[in-house]
Symmetry: C2
Subunit: 136 residues, 2 copies
DNA sequence: CTTGACCCTCAAGTTACTTGAAGGTTTACG
DNA sequence: CGTAAACCTTCAAGTAACTTGAGGGTCAAG
Protein backbone atom coordinates (compact mmCIF):
# COMPACT_ATOMS: atom_id res chain seq x y z
CA UNK A 1 0.00 0.00 0.00
CA UNK A 2 1.43 3.35 -0.89
CA UNK A 3 1.99 5.99 1.70
CA UNK A 4 2.73 9.69 1.80
CA UNK A 5 3.53 12.52 4.15
CA UNK A 6 1.44 15.24 5.70
CA UNK A 7 1.68 17.69 2.81
CA UNK A 8 0.18 15.19 0.40
CA UNK A 9 -2.59 14.30 2.81
CA UNK A 10 -3.22 17.99 3.29
CA UNK A 11 -3.62 18.68 -0.39
CA UNK A 12 -5.81 15.61 -0.92
CA UNK A 13 -8.13 16.62 1.89
CA UNK A 14 -7.82 20.34 1.13
CA UNK A 15 -6.58 21.28 4.56
CA UNK A 16 -3.33 22.79 5.82
CA UNK A 17 -0.69 20.61 7.46
CA UNK A 18 -0.87 22.55 10.75
CA UNK A 19 -4.61 21.93 10.86
CA UNK A 20 -4.02 18.20 10.53
CA UNK A 21 -1.45 18.28 13.33
CA UNK A 22 -3.94 20.27 15.37
CA UNK A 23 -6.66 17.68 14.80
CA UNK A 24 -4.27 15.01 15.95
CA UNK A 25 -3.34 17.03 19.02
CA UNK A 26 -6.94 17.55 20.15
CA UNK A 27 -7.74 13.90 19.64
CA UNK A 28 -9.99 14.24 16.64
CA UNK A 29 -7.55 12.26 14.53
CA UNK A 30 -5.64 9.35 16.00
CA UNK A 31 -1.86 9.61 16.24
CA UNK A 32 -0.15 9.06 12.94
CA UNK A 33 2.52 6.47 12.33
CA UNK A 34 5.99 7.96 12.03
CA UNK A 35 8.95 7.32 9.80
CA UNK A 36 12.31 6.74 11.45
CA UNK A 37 13.01 10.43 11.10
CA UNK A 38 9.81 11.34 12.96
CA UNK A 39 7.78 12.46 9.97
CA UNK A 40 4.15 11.44 9.93
CA UNK A 41 3.06 8.77 7.46
CA UNK A 42 -0.43 8.45 6.01
CA UNK A 43 -2.33 6.36 3.49
CA UNK A 44 -5.61 6.46 1.61
CA UNK A 45 -7.73 5.47 4.59
CA UNK A 46 -6.50 8.64 6.27
CA UNK A 47 -7.69 10.67 3.31
CA UNK A 48 -11.15 9.20 3.82
CA UNK A 49 -11.13 9.83 7.54
CA UNK A 50 -9.99 13.38 7.10
CA UNK A 51 -12.46 14.02 4.32
CA UNK A 52 -15.22 12.85 6.62
CA UNK A 53 -14.02 15.26 9.31
CA UNK A 54 -13.75 18.12 6.87
CA UNK A 55 -17.24 17.49 5.53
CA UNK A 56 -18.61 17.55 9.04
CA UNK A 57 -16.79 20.80 9.85
CA UNK A 58 -18.21 22.32 6.69
CA UNK A 59 -21.61 21.29 7.93
CA UNK A 60 -20.90 23.51 10.90
CA UNK A 61 -20.37 20.78 13.46
CA UNK A 62 -17.98 21.73 16.25
CA UNK A 63 -14.87 19.70 16.90
CA UNK A 64 -16.61 18.08 19.84
CA UNK A 65 -19.60 17.14 17.70
CA UNK A 66 -17.34 15.68 15.05
CA UNK A 67 -15.65 13.62 17.73
CA UNK A 68 -19.07 12.20 18.57
CA UNK A 69 -19.76 11.45 14.93
CA UNK A 70 -16.40 9.75 14.55
CA UNK A 71 -17.19 7.66 17.61
CA UNK A 72 -20.60 6.78 16.15
CA UNK A 73 -19.08 5.49 12.97
CA UNK A 74 -16.90 3.20 15.06
CA UNK A 75 -19.99 1.71 16.75
CA UNK A 76 -22.43 1.14 13.90
CA UNK A 77 -25.16 -0.49 15.95
CA UNK A 78 -27.03 2.69 16.81
CA UNK A 79 -24.98 5.03 14.67
CA UNK A 80 -27.59 5.98 12.15
CA UNK A 81 -30.30 7.46 14.32
CA UNK A 82 -27.83 9.18 16.63
CA UNK A 83 -26.17 10.78 13.66
CA UNK A 84 -29.54 11.89 12.37
CA UNK A 85 -30.23 13.51 15.71
CA UNK A 86 -26.94 15.38 15.60
CA UNK A 87 -27.60 16.53 12.07
CA UNK A 88 -31.10 17.69 12.93
CA UNK A 89 -29.82 19.66 15.91
CA UNK A 90 -27.21 21.25 13.74
CA UNK A 91 -29.84 22.17 11.16
CA UNK A 92 -31.84 23.83 13.90
CA UNK A 93 -28.84 25.92 14.92
CA UNK A 94 -28.22 26.93 11.35
CA UNK A 95 -31.79 28.10 10.98
CA UNK A 96 -31.54 30.22 14.11
CA UNK A 97 -28.35 31.79 12.77
CA UNK A 98 -30.05 32.38 9.45
CA UNK A 99 -32.88 34.21 11.15
CA UNK A 100 -30.48 36.44 13.04
CA UNK A 101 -28.42 37.13 9.97
CA UNK A 102 -31.49 38.02 7.92
CA UNK A 103 -32.60 40.48 10.58
CA UNK A 104 -29.11 41.92 10.57
CA UNK A 105 -29.17 42.24 6.80
CA UNK A 106 -32.38 44.19 6.96
CA UNK A 107 -31.13 46.53 9.67
CA UNK A 108 -27.99 47.21 7.70
CA UNK A 109 -29.99 47.88 4.57
CA UNK A 110 -31.99 50.44 6.49
CA UNK A 111 -28.85 51.94 7.92
CA UNK A 112 -27.25 52.33 4.50
CA UNK A 113 -30.53 53.61 3.15
CA UNK A 114 -30.79 56.30 5.78
CA UNK A 115 -27.27 57.46 5.03
CA UNK A 116 -28.29 57.74 1.41
CA UNK A 117 -31.49 59.65 1.97
CA UNK A 118 -30.59 61.84 4.91
CA UNK A 119 -26.96 62.61 4.17
CA UNK A 120 -27.26 62.67 0.42
CA UNK A 121 -26.12 66.27 0.18
CA UNK A 122 -22.59 65.16 0.89
CA UNK A 123 -20.54 65.12 4.06
CA UNK A 124 -22.43 67.41 6.35
CA UNK A 125 -20.99 68.49 9.68
CA UNK A 126 -23.79 67.00 11.74
CA UNK A 127 -24.60 63.46 10.84
CA UNK A 128 -27.94 62.70 12.41
CA UNK A 129 -27.58 58.98 12.04
CA UNK A 130 -24.36 58.58 13.96
CA UNK A 131 -26.04 60.52 16.73
CA UNK A 132 -29.10 58.30 16.59
CA UNK A 133 -27.02 55.21 17.12
CA UNK A 134 -25.92 56.49 20.52
CA UNK A 135 -29.37 57.06 21.97
CA UNK A 136 -31.17 54.32 23.82
CA UNK B 1 -24.55 65.64 37.29
CA UNK B 2 -25.12 62.28 38.82
CA UNK B 3 -22.63 59.50 38.46
CA UNK B 4 -22.53 55.78 39.03
CA UNK B 5 -20.21 52.80 38.97
CA UNK B 6 -19.50 50.13 36.43
CA UNK B 7 -22.32 47.78 37.45
CA UNK B 8 -24.92 50.45 36.83
CA UNK B 9 -23.40 51.37 33.50
CA UNK B 10 -23.34 47.69 32.62
CA UNK B 11 -27.02 47.20 33.32
CA UNK B 12 -28.01 50.41 31.50
CA UNK B 13 -26.07 49.39 28.40
CA UNK B 14 -26.92 45.70 28.79
CA UNK B 15 -23.32 44.53 28.90
CA UNK B 16 -21.26 42.84 31.57
CA UNK B 17 -18.76 44.80 33.66
CA UNK B 18 -15.80 42.74 32.43
CA UNK B 19 -16.80 43.53 28.88
CA UNK B 20 -16.70 47.24 29.66
CA UNK B 21 -13.27 46.92 31.25
CA UNK B 22 -12.19 44.95 28.21
CA UNK B 23 -13.40 47.71 25.88
CA UNK B 24 -11.42 50.19 27.91
CA UNK B 25 -8.35 47.99 27.80
CA UNK B 26 -8.38 47.59 24.03
CA UNK B 27 -8.89 51.32 23.54
CA UNK B 28 -12.44 51.22 22.29
CA UNK B 29 -13.60 53.18 25.31
CA UNK B 30 -11.45 55.90 26.80
CA UNK B 31 -10.12 55.43 30.33
CA UNK B 32 -12.73 56.06 32.95
CA UNK B 33 -12.34 58.55 35.76
CA UNK B 34 -11.70 56.93 39.10
CA UNK B 35 -12.90 57.54 42.63
CA UNK B 36 -10.27 57.89 45.34
CA UNK B 37 -10.59 54.18 45.99
CA UNK B 38 -9.86 53.34 42.37
CA UNK B 39 -13.36 52.42 41.29
CA UNK B 40 -14.45 53.62 37.87
CA UNK B 41 -16.98 56.44 37.66
CA UNK B 42 -19.39 56.99 34.77
CA UNK B 43 -22.24 59.27 33.80
CA UNK B 44 -25.02 59.39 31.24
CA UNK B 45 -22.77 60.35 28.35
CA UNK B 46 -20.97 57.06 28.91
CA UNK B 47 -24.25 55.22 28.59
CA UNK B 48 -24.70 56.82 25.18
CA UNK B 49 -21.19 56.05 24.07
CA UNK B 50 -21.48 52.46 25.16
CA UNK B 51 -24.89 52.07 23.60
CA UNK B 52 -23.44 53.27 20.33
CA UNK B 53 -20.68 50.71 20.59
CA UNK B 54 -23.08 47.94 21.45
CA UNK B 55 -25.34 48.84 18.52
CA UNK B 56 -22.40 48.67 16.18
CA UNK B 57 -21.29 45.31 17.54
CA UNK B 58 -24.82 44.02 17.05
CA UNK B 59 -24.55 45.18 13.47
CA UNK B 60 -21.63 42.80 13.20
CA UNK B 61 -18.88 45.37 13.05
CA UNK B 62 -15.59 44.16 14.50
CA UNK B 63 -13.93 46.00 17.36
CA UNK B 64 -11.54 47.56 14.87
CA UNK B 65 -14.39 48.77 12.69
CA UNK B 66 -16.19 50.20 15.69
CA UNK B 67 -13.02 52.07 16.61
CA UNK B 68 -13.12 53.64 13.17
CA UNK B 69 -16.76 54.58 13.59
CA UNK B 70 -16.05 56.09 16.99
CA UNK B 71 -13.21 58.08 15.44
CA UNK B 72 -15.54 59.21 12.66
CA UNK B 73 -18.08 60.55 15.11
CA UNK B 74 -15.32 62.62 16.70
CA UNK B 75 -14.49 64.20 13.32
CA UNK B 76 -17.87 65.05 11.85
CA UNK B 77 -16.60 66.73 8.70
CA UNK B 78 -16.49 63.65 6.53
CA UNK B 79 -18.06 61.28 8.99
CA UNK B 80 -21.25 60.58 7.18
CA UNK B 81 -20.03 59.20 3.90
CA UNK B 82 -17.24 57.23 5.52
CA UNK B 83 -19.71 55.65 7.88
CA UNK B 84 -21.96 54.82 4.96
CA UNK B 85 -19.04 53.08 3.28
CA UNK B 86 -18.33 51.03 6.37
CA UNK B 87 -21.97 50.06 6.68
CA UNK B 88 -22.19 49.09 3.03
CA UNK B 89 -19.09 46.92 3.33
CA UNK B 90 -20.55 45.28 6.37
CA UNK B 91 -23.78 44.62 4.52
CA UNK B 92 -21.81 42.97 1.76
CA UNK B 93 -20.10 40.66 4.25
CA UNK B 94 -23.43 39.77 5.80
CA UNK B 95 -24.83 38.85 2.41
CA UNK B 96 -21.90 36.57 1.68
CA UNK B 97 -22.39 34.86 5.03
CA UNK B 98 -26.09 34.53 4.31
CA UNK B 99 -25.37 32.79 1.04
CA UNK B 100 -23.03 30.33 2.70
CA UNK B 101 -25.45 29.65 5.49
CA UNK B 102 -28.32 29.05 3.09
CA UNK B 103 -26.24 26.52 1.17
CA UNK B 104 -25.38 24.88 4.47
CA UNK B 105 -29.02 24.75 5.45
CA UNK B 106 -29.89 22.99 2.24
CA UNK B 107 -27.09 20.46 2.59
CA UNK B 108 -28.14 19.68 6.12
CA UNK B 109 -31.75 19.28 5.05
CA UNK B 110 -30.62 16.77 2.49
CA UNK B 111 -28.47 15.00 5.04
CA UNK B 112 -31.32 14.69 7.52
CA UNK B 113 -33.62 13.68 4.70
CA UNK B 114 -31.35 10.89 3.61
CA UNK B 115 -31.14 9.56 7.14
CA UNK B 116 -34.93 9.50 7.18
CA UNK B 117 -35.41 7.78 3.87
CA UNK B 118 -32.49 5.41 3.79
CA UNK B 119 -32.21 4.46 7.45
CA UNK B 120 -35.89 4.60 8.22
CA UNK B 121 -36.03 0.95 9.23
CA UNK B 122 -34.27 1.82 12.45
CA UNK B 123 -30.66 1.60 13.52
CA UNK B 124 -29.18 -0.68 10.94
CA UNK B 125 -25.67 -2.03 11.31
CA UNK B 126 -24.37 -0.47 8.12
CA UNK B 127 -25.23 3.14 7.75
CA UNK B 128 -24.63 4.03 4.14
CA UNK B 129 -24.64 7.73 4.76
CA UNK B 130 -21.86 7.85 7.30
CA UNK B 131 -19.82 5.90 4.80
CA UNK B 132 -20.70 8.32 2.05
CA UNK B 133 -19.42 11.23 4.04
CA UNK B 134 -15.94 9.76 4.05
CA UNK B 135 -15.57 9.33 0.30
CA UNK B 136 -14.18 12.10 -1.79
C1' DC C 1 26.62 17.60 -2.58
C1' DT C 2 24.05 21.34 -2.33
C1' DT C 3 19.74 23.62 -2.75
C1' DG C 4 15.02 24.06 -2.15
C1' DA C 5 10.97 22.05 -0.69
C1' DC C 6 9.23 19.75 2.99
C1' DC C 7 8.93 18.19 7.78
C1' DC C 8 9.38 18.60 13.04
C1' DT C 9 8.17 20.91 17.78
C1' DC C 10 6.96 24.49 20.66
C1' DA C 11 5.25 29.00 21.58
C1' DA C 12 2.54 32.77 20.73
C1' DG C 13 -1.10 35.30 18.13
C1' DT C 14 -6.01 35.74 16.65
C1' DT C 15 -11.25 37.51 18.24
C1' DA C 16 -14.01 39.04 21.66
C1' DC C 17 -14.78 38.14 25.31
C1' DT C 18 -15.73 34.99 29.96
C1' DT C 19 -14.29 33.01 34.29
C1' DG C 20 -11.72 32.70 38.41
C1' DA C 21 -8.68 33.95 42.22
C1' DA C 22 -7.45 36.99 45.76
C1' DG C 23 -8.45 40.93 47.90
C1' DG C 24 -10.23 46.04 48.72
C1' DT C 25 -14.82 49.13 49.08
C1' DT C 26 -19.57 50.46 49.82
C1' DT C 27 -23.97 50.01 51.44
C1' DA C 28 -27.76 48.40 54.03
C1' DC C 29 -29.47 46.42 58.09
C1' DG C 30 -29.92 45.53 62.99
C1' DC D 1 -21.42 51.22 65.00
C1' DG D 2 -20.44 46.73 63.29
C1' DT D 3 -20.66 43.40 59.93
C1' DA D 4 -22.12 40.94 56.02
C1' DA D 5 -23.67 41.09 51.35
C1' DA D 6 -22.93 43.09 47.25
C1' DC D 7 -19.87 45.38 44.50
C1' DC D 8 -15.40 46.83 42.91
C1' DT D 9 -10.23 46.11 41.70
C1' DT D 10 -6.29 43.62 39.02
C1' DC D 11 -4.18 39.92 36.85
C1' DA D 12 -4.13 35.42 34.80
C1' DA D 13 -5.99 31.92 32.31
C1' DG D 14 -9.69 29.74 29.48
C1' DT D 15 -12.66 29.51 25.13
C1' DA D 16 -12.86 27.89 19.65
C1' DA D 17 -10.35 26.57 16.00
C1' DC D 18 -7.05 27.30 14.18
C1' DT D 19 -2.77 30.40 12.06
C1' DT D 20 1.85 32.15 12.21
C1' DG D 21 6.57 32.18 13.43
C1' DA D 22 11.05 30.65 15.11
C1' DG D 23 14.59 27.49 14.95
C1' DG D 24 16.12 23.47 13.15
C1' DG D 25 16.08 18.59 10.91
C1' DT D 26 15.01 15.66 6.35
C1' DC D 27 14.32 14.40 1.60
C1' DA D 28 14.58 14.47 -3.54
C1' DA D 29 16.53 16.35 -7.66
C1' DG D 30 20.20 17.91 -10.45
Amino acid sequence: MHTFRIGTLASRAALNPPTIRYYEEVGLLRKARRMGSGQRVYDNTDVERLTFIKRCREFGFSIEQVKQLVALTADPSSACMDARTLAAEQLEQVRVQLGELRALEQSLEELVGSFDSRCAGGPGPDCVILGDLARS
